[in-house]
Structures are given as C-alpha cells and as structure tokens.
C-alpha cells in the first residue's frame, strides 16, 4: 500500500449496522470483520464502486452486512450474475461471497467458467464442508464417510479439492485462508484485490452448529504452527513453532523433512513459486494427505488478460476499424431499395 494514499474510510463505513444474523460463534463473523478491516486499504477504490454479489446459503447473506452496493441473488448463480455486472461496468470492484454448496455444487458450472474467463471478480468461498442453511446435509467438500443428516450411514462421495479444481480450470489467482487467522486473511484480501482477473480465496470456515471443529486438527492455535504451512512466493516452505519442519521436493513427490535431524538444512526446502501450475497442483494435494501440513496462502498468481479488458479492446478496435456505429446506416443495411 503506497504511503501517500489517503485512507478515506474506516471499517465502520463498510458496515450497514443491521443485526448480523449468523449463529453465535460462526466463522462468518470473522470473515466479515476481516473484509471490513481490509477494505479501507483497497487502493483507490471508492466505497460506491464496490459491489458484493452472492448466491444462496449462510455466506450469501454477506452483502446485507456490507454498506456497499449488493445483490443477494439465487442459488449457484452469483458467478454468472457477477460476470454480467463486471463485464457491463468494468469500473466496479466486484466481490462474490459464496459457500461450498453454492459455489461448487449448484454453481459449479458457473464457477468453472468464471475462472477460465478470468473476469476481475474476487471470489470469497466460505468452505465449512457442510450445508448449514438447510441444517446439516453433506456438501461437495464433505469428507468421504462423514455422517450428516442426508448421509446417516456415512458419505459415499469423495470431496472436491477446491484449490486443485481451480488450478484445473485455469484460475489465475488461487489462495486459501482460515477464518481464525485474521491477519493472513486480510493480507490475502488485499492480494486478491490487486490481482487483475478472477481471484479465488477458499476460506476454511467453521460451522459451529452442524460441523463444529471441522478444521480444528489444523487450525487450533495450540498446534496451528506445527500443522499449517504458509506458502509464499520465493520463500522456502518451512513451518513449525521452531521453524524446524520443511517440505522438500523429491522428483514430483513432496516429502516432509526435519531440519533438526542433522541431515537436512533450510537449503533443502522447496522454494515456493506461485507462477508454477505444476507446483501449485502438487502442494494442493496436501489437503488430502493426513501426513502433510495444511497449505494456506497464495498457490497461484498468474498474469493473464481479463475478459472485460479484452472486450473493451475489441470495442475500441471495432470502432477504429469500422467507425463509431451509425444506427440509421445499420437499420438500412447493405442492400436496400427505394420505392418512389
């Protein structure tokens, strides 16, 4: 953030002041707070330029709590509606609040095509691995075997890995955060804003009622540093309270190394590169491997042209080539005749 940019807003300016109706203890509160804390720092973005689009689900109530423009739409379609908003008016800073069901199940198709089109929309995926608003059914990110209200004998589906999915469909900014790490989430919100093109942040969010403690194994403060690895471009993949663990790449296989075992040093650790889809994919697979730490941070940050910029360019070029369209000439068409 540049030093001479005047900060015009406070977090309070982004609050509508109406009662927030999530369950007490819900992870969504933290996400709302981090967004409201981060937004005053969004460089050069007037409050009235910000639009929040959401679908349906607990997370999709988000726009009502943000004192910006907002549109709470229909289940799964936030990505498609946001695409229209941003394409029609590229000046807007468009944000999308969505959940694992909304984004990856009913809205999976739109999510896929949003990412490949690279429209400059910032997607905040609230992943709690459960259907909350409908009171506790399995979601597309629920674990295999999980008992939920609609899987009383255990879930017989395998979950989507949202990060791997986003890589597979040509996402250009792919990141993961945790509701419980506010500073880190704030920094990712800033990075998502700065990225030109679709930015996707999967936020691991605790559903206190229907899936409480889903991420405790990684995210609880007492062991977080030992079980979570923060990936950062150009930095070695080292983690642990005592910075004593690291990831090393053995061919295509990532291995966990102990920096205190006398055989390894920090020089053996993999230097993360967020321009590499291959690396991003390898690291994304940690989530499914209990032996590995949970990776969070920016997995991928690529520089592609955006859909709306290409559209603007095409319009400018067409006007240059054919001239500003004259409607009466268009209506008359190329072959016309006159009756006197």
């Amino acid at each position: 953030m540049s030093e001479n940019t005047e900060i015009k807003y406070t977090p309070k300016d982004y609050s509508t002041g109406i009662d927030v109706r999530w369950c007490p203890g819900c992870g969504d509160f933290s996400i709302l707070a981090q967004v409201q804390r981060s937004f005053p720092q969004l460089v050069g973005v007037e409050k009235e330029k910000i639009v929040f689009i959401s679908g349906i689900g607990c997370s999709s109530r988000f726009p009502y709590y943000m004192n910006t423009y907002g549109f709470h739409t229909i289940h799964g379609r936030a990505a498609a509606i946001a695409s229209g908003v941003k394409t029609a008016n590229p000046d807007l800073s468009v944000w999308m609040a969505t959940g694992d069901g909304d984004c990856l199940s009913i809205g999976g198709n739109h999510f896929v095509h949003l990412l490949r089109r690279n429209i400059d929309i910032n997607v905040l995926l609230f992943n709690n691995r459960i259907y909350g608003l409908t009171k506790g059914q399995n979601s597309p990110t629920s674990e295999h075997g999980k008992v939920t209200k609609s899987t009383p004998l255990g879930n017989i589906e395998y979950p989507i890995n949202p990060i791997a999915m986003a890589i597979g469909v040509e996402g250009t900014f792919i990141a993961r955060a945790m509701d419980v790490d506010s500073k880190h989430l704030q920094s990712l919100i800033q990075k998502a804003h700065q990225h030109k093109g679709t930015s996707f942040i999967e936020i691991l969010q605790n559903c206190v009622i229907f899936n409480d403690g889903a991420f405790d194994n990684f995210t609880l403060k007492q062991h977080r540093e030992d079980r979570v690895v923060y990936v950062e471009h150009g930095q070695p993949m080292v983690f642990g309270k005592e910075k004593d663990k690291a990831i090393k790449l053995d061919g295509f296989t990532p291995v966990l190394i102990d920096l205190k075992d006398g055989k390894h040093s920090v020089n053996d650790a993999l230097i993360y590169n967020d321009k590499s889809k291959e690396l991003a994919y390898i690291i994304s697979q940690f989530s499914d491997n209990p032996a590995m730490p949970l990776p969070v941070g920016v997995f991928l940050d690529l520089d592609y042209t955006t859909f709306e910029d290409d559209m603007t360019l095409q319009i400018a070029e067409a006007k240059k080539k054919y001239g500003e369209g004259d409607i009466n000439t268009l209506l008359r068409g190329k072959s016309f005749w006159e009756i006197n």
Binding site: K47, E48, V51, P63
Partner: protein, 626 residues
C-alpha cells in the same frame, strides 16, 4: 461483371411472357446442396424489383444429413407478388427438386398443374432407393398432374466448368447456381445482384467467382435455348408505400430493434445468451456489433445467459437474453429474481416445437402460457409477441421500452417461422422510434431502493453512484426501503404492487385494432406468427362477401384495455393457434368469453386456405359462443 447482356436483361419482355400476380417458388435439395443460399439470393433479387415477398427456410436439424435421405431435405420457399402479401404461400407454383428425396417430401405442397423442375442427373437408382421410390417418378406417370421439366443440372454444370479443371467436388457444388439461373430466366429477372454477391463472397478465390458466375449464366442460357419451357412469367412490382426498403428476417430484426432501442434510450446493450436453435442468430448478429458498443457474453448455459444479463441490468446496462423453449424453462428461476429485484430485462423466446427437445427446427406457438404464468410464486412479467418477421423489430423495440420504463422483465415471443422467415421492411430511422429514456437515479436525498413513481416503478441506480449504496435480492422486500421483510401484510402488499405495476402497462400500449367491420358474426383472433395466414384468409373471405373480421394481439400480458370491448362486439370468436388452444384459455380466463379453437400442432405454420375453410365452416354451421 461482364458487358455481355444476359437474356433476362433484355428490356422488353419477349413474347410468351405471361403476367401473373403471385408466385410461390420452392428450392429443395440435400442439406448440403446450398438451397438456403439459393433461396436467399432469389429473394434478394425479387425484393430489388419491388415485389412484396415472404420467405420460409425449412431445414433439418442435422447439419449434413446423409445425402439423398428424406429427412435430410432442406427447402427455401419464396412467395412474391405484385400486391401486398402476408404469408409465405399456401401452395407451391414451382418446385426445384435437386434429388428424388426433395421431390418426394415436397410433392404434397405443389399446386395442381404446378411446375416441377428436377435435376434429372440425380434420379438414378441409389437416390431413388434412398427416397423410397421403386421406380423413377419421372417415368411411371405419377407426375402426370404437373408440368415436369427434367433438366440435367449436374451434367450441365460439369460441362460448363470443363475447361476450368476444378476438382469434381468443387465443380458439383456450383450446381445450385445453375438451378437459380433457370429460375431467373423463367421469371425474367436479372442475375446481376447474384453476380455481385458471388464476386464479393468468393473474392479470395477468383476461380470460384468465375465458376459460379459461369454456371449461373449457363442456367439462364439453358432456359432460353433448351426450349423446354413454353412460357415465361412476369410478376409486376407491388404498390408499396414510398420509402426505403430492405429484406429483413425475424431474428435479425430482433437484434436490430434491441440495438436501436438501446441507442434511443441512451443505455448500453448487454446480451447474455447460449446458442440454441432457432434463436442463435440473435447472438451471432449482436456479437458482430462491437462498434456499436454492444457487449455479448456467450454463456456456459442458459441460466448463466440470463443471470449475466440480470447482472448487467443491475450495473446499469439493458440486459438481454435470447433463447428458445428448452432454454426458457432453464431461465425460469432467474426471471423470478428479476421480477423481485425489479430490474429491466428482455427475454427473447424464438419458439420451436416442444415439449423437451421437441422439434428444434420447426415452428410452434406453445410457450404462451409458460411466458405468462410459468414461474414459482406470483410472478408477473410483461409478455409481447411479434406477428411477422419485420414486426420482430417493432416488438423488440417495445419490449426494450417497457422493460426500461417499468423496471421489469419483458418476454418477447417470436417463433421459428418468423424468426427465420423474411419480408421487405420499410426502413425507419432512430428518430422515428417511440420516445424512451433510461433514467438513472443519482440524488441520494430521500432515496430508497423501493420508492415508487406514479406507475409504481422503482428507481434504477447505477452502482458507482456515490451515497446511494443499497442491497437488493430475491428475498421479499420491505415496501419502499427494500430491506428483507417476512411481514405477512408487507408480502401481500408487495405481491399486489408488482402485479399492479405490470397491469399499469396497459395504459401505455396501443388498443386492439379490428380489421373489417367492428362488430358482426365472426372475429378471427390471433397472436404471433399466425398473423399472415389470418389476414390473408380474412381478406379473401371479405372479398367473397362473407361477414368476418380479424384482430391480432401483440400484447399478451397485459392485454390491451379494449380487448373485452372488441370481443363483445362479435357473436363468435375463432382463435387459430399453432398450439392446443393457449390464447383461447387466456381469453376465457380473463374475459369469460368462449371461443372456437382452431389448432394445428405440426411444426408448420397455418396456411391461409386452412383458416378460410374453417371460417366458412363456422359461418355455415352451428357453434360459436355458448
């Protein structure tokens, strides 16, 4: 172009030219034979002579169906006349059949004693078998009721191109121009426009320009010298109102109407659409209009098509989505969102045969009730329908005007018949369009998202306007303030308010007009693409001295204010529809007026004579209002 005079250009009609008022020609062949192109070329030429005309392309759903098969036959019908016409012709005067299948499929439509020109080269064993002929119909006497002309079109084409040494396949592809040349000769028309078109179309391959022009002229010369036709025909120009005209098909007309309306209203146009027959042309046409600032978004599915359009409307553009029946079904939930959010939106449904995938390339009017009622909840939208190809322009402009003025989705119904069909259109300018302005609220003083004006319309605010940040959505809104509200009385009030807003549109649309006497025995009431057949039928019946009038509904929801008054003035109402009686249901439901239903759901438009027969039957027999 050449200095040489082609036979058709001779200034005085040669002896043997008979003047006729009205002709219907159909070109038919394999879907790869270029029949659509041939028909389009002929209709452009006819139009330039000042004839009134109507065209009807008819093609299979398969892109290249197996050659010679019955289901692979593609046809293009041109009806042209020296007076004003409304249909694409009940019966065919001249059929050009490029193969036996084309003959077999189209024979039923040919007038008694009509002319059949066949490509005799294709009437060999394999093609005859494919068409299901055991013996050649050219030899077995089965065509004795027609004037049949066997022309070796393929051989003549190859002979003409012998010295150009083109690959056989390329040379054969030119044969449609031979057929076109013969027809130009037969109707005494100059090939000049087509020569110009060929020169432009193939300008990158001069050998194709040369080949196609040679073959076209060879067709003309064949007509002149082969002496197989003893008569040529002349159709004098029609007496149309003064002005500039162009040929226009319905889908293009929709696209033009929407662009013109957006310019008139001063708002950007955004189309979100997914390709679907027979509506795809609207997407394609608008995609080529970037220099008018038009933004098109080929969405990942029908839902994203409408959803992106709703997003565009929310951010201050006029959102449009175009589709056909199955796509309409998918868009249903999103239409409800636009109703709740009260955003302008135009939904174009180029109807096709249903249900499900149905008959993608055939026409039908069976989505009327879906348009009026097919959503969850009390969910009123405005519904308008175009009646002819060029009326698609007028009604697209109307759809856009109403959407913007009333902050509402408007469904524009057209169908495959008028979407693909074309007719001359008296060109209008943007200055002649009805007044419309997109008004954006910018004053934060007293602003609430669900404030309402005298028509109950809420304000449109562009995100980016300072001090007016607000949230809308699909949950029920509190009156005026727009906050979420579960209050029972508020919901009841909002349901009524949304309905009343749409009903208010009836103050803003033209009254229903009656053609013929304003009262009497029989009114033929129609909507949509039955206009041509109904108008021709009623005009003919009036000319015969029968007491019958017609009226055509272009606004289906709400209907014109005088509708009941019009209906009450007639003893009997006859409603022809290409569905099972959907308008008849609406009329009975809205006005307690019963009608005689006349339905045909065959994927084809009504013919005027069918309606005439029905009129005569109704006038003669018992029936009518109970």
């Amino acid at each position: 172009m050449t200095d040489e005079k082609t036979p058709a250009e001779s200034s005085n009609p040669a002896p043997g030219i008979v003047t006729v008022e009205d002709v219907t020609i159909r070109f038919a062949g394999d879907s790869g034979d270029g029949m659509q192109l041939t028909g389009a070329q002929f209709s452009d030429t006819i139009a330039s002579y000042g004839n009134d005309l109507g065209t009807l392309p008819d093609y299979p759903a398969e892109i290249r169906a197996p050659a010679g098969s019955l289901y692979g036959v593609s046809g293009y019908t041109i009806h042209f006349s020296s007076h004003e016409i409304y249909t694409t012709g009940d019966q065919v005067d001249v059929l050009v059949a490029m193969n036996p299948a084309a003959l077999k499929v189209n024979l039923k439509d040919i007038k008694k004693n009509g002319i059949i020109i066949v490509n005799s080269d294709s009437f060999e064993r394999k093609n005859l078998e494919l068409a299901g002929y055991t013996e050649s119909p050219l030899k077995d006497g089965s065509l004795s009721g027609y004037s049949v002309h066997s022309v070796p079109i393929t051989k003549s084409t190859l002979e003409t191109l012998k010295e150009l040494n083109l690959p056989l396949k390329t040379a054969q592809k030119c044969k449609n121009f031979f057929a076109l040349g013969v027809i130009y000769w037969l109707y005494n028309k100059s090939p000049e426009l087509t020569i110009k078109w060929i020169s432009d179309k193939f300008k990158k391959s001069p050998e194709l320009v040369e080949a196609n022009i040679r073959v076209l002229k060879a067709g003309l010369y064949f007509g002149e010298t082969a002496e197989i036709f003893d008569t040529r025909y002349e159709v004098k120009p029609a007496e149309l109102p003064k002005g500039i005209y162009r040929n226009l098909n319905g889908n293009e007309a929709v696209a033009l109407g929407l662009v013109a309306a957006s310019k008139k209203a001063g708002v950007e146009l955004f189309l979100g659409s997914y390709p679907i027959t027979p509506a795809t042309e609207i997407l394609q046409f608008l995609s080529g209009m970037r220099n008018f600032g038009v933004k098109t978004f080929q969405a990942e599915d029908e839902i994203a098509g409408i959803a992106s359009a709703i997003g565009a409307s929310f951010s201050g553009s006029l959102g449009i989505t175009s589709t056909s029946g199955p796509g309409m079904a998918l868009k249903t939930e999103a239409i409800g969102l636009a109703v709740m959010a009260e955003l302008p939106l135009v939904i174009v449904n180029v109807q096709r045969g249903g249900p499900s995938t149905g008959l993608p390339t055939k026409t039908e009017q069976a989505d009327l009730l879906q348009a009026v009622y097919g959503r969850n909840g009390e969910c009123p939208v405005a519904v308008v329908a175009a009646s002819t190809p060029s009326d698609c322009f007028t009604m697209a402009v109307e759809a856009a005007r109403l959407a913007i003025k009333y902050m509402t989705p408007v469904i524009l119904l057209t169908d495959g018949y008028i979407g693909n069909g074309s007719e001359p259109w008296k060109v209008i300018t943007i200055e002649e369009l009805p007044e419309m302005t997109a008004k954006f609220e910018t004053n934060p003083e007293g602003f609430h998202p669900y404030n309402r004006d005298e028509n109950l319309v809420r304000p449109w605010v562009k995100p980016g306007t300072p001090g007016m940040e607000h949230r809308i959505g699909g949950l029920e809104k509190q009156h005026i303030f727009g906050n979420i509200s579960y209050d029972p009385d508020n919901h009841d009030f909002m349901v009524k308010t949304r309905e009343q807003k749409i009903q208010n549109i009836s103050n803003d649309i033209p009254e229903l007009e009656v053609v013929g006497d304003k009262s009497g025995k029989l009114l033929v009431l129609g909507w949509g693409s039955t206009f041509g057949a109904i108008t021709s039928a009623v005009e003919n019946q009036i000319a015969k001295g029968n007491k019958v009038s017609s009226a055509h509904l272009k606004y289906l929801y709400p209907m014109p204010k005088n509708t009941l008054e019009v209906l009450k003035n007639f003893e009997t109402i006859l409603i022809p529809e290409v569905n099972s009686g959907q308008l008849a249901k609406l009329i009975r439901m809205n006005y307690l007026v019963d009608s005689i239903k006349f339905n045909k759901v065959k994927g084809t438009p009504f013919k005027a004579f069918e309606i005439e027969e029905k009129i005569e039957e109704v006038l003669k027999g018992p029936g009518g209002k109970k």
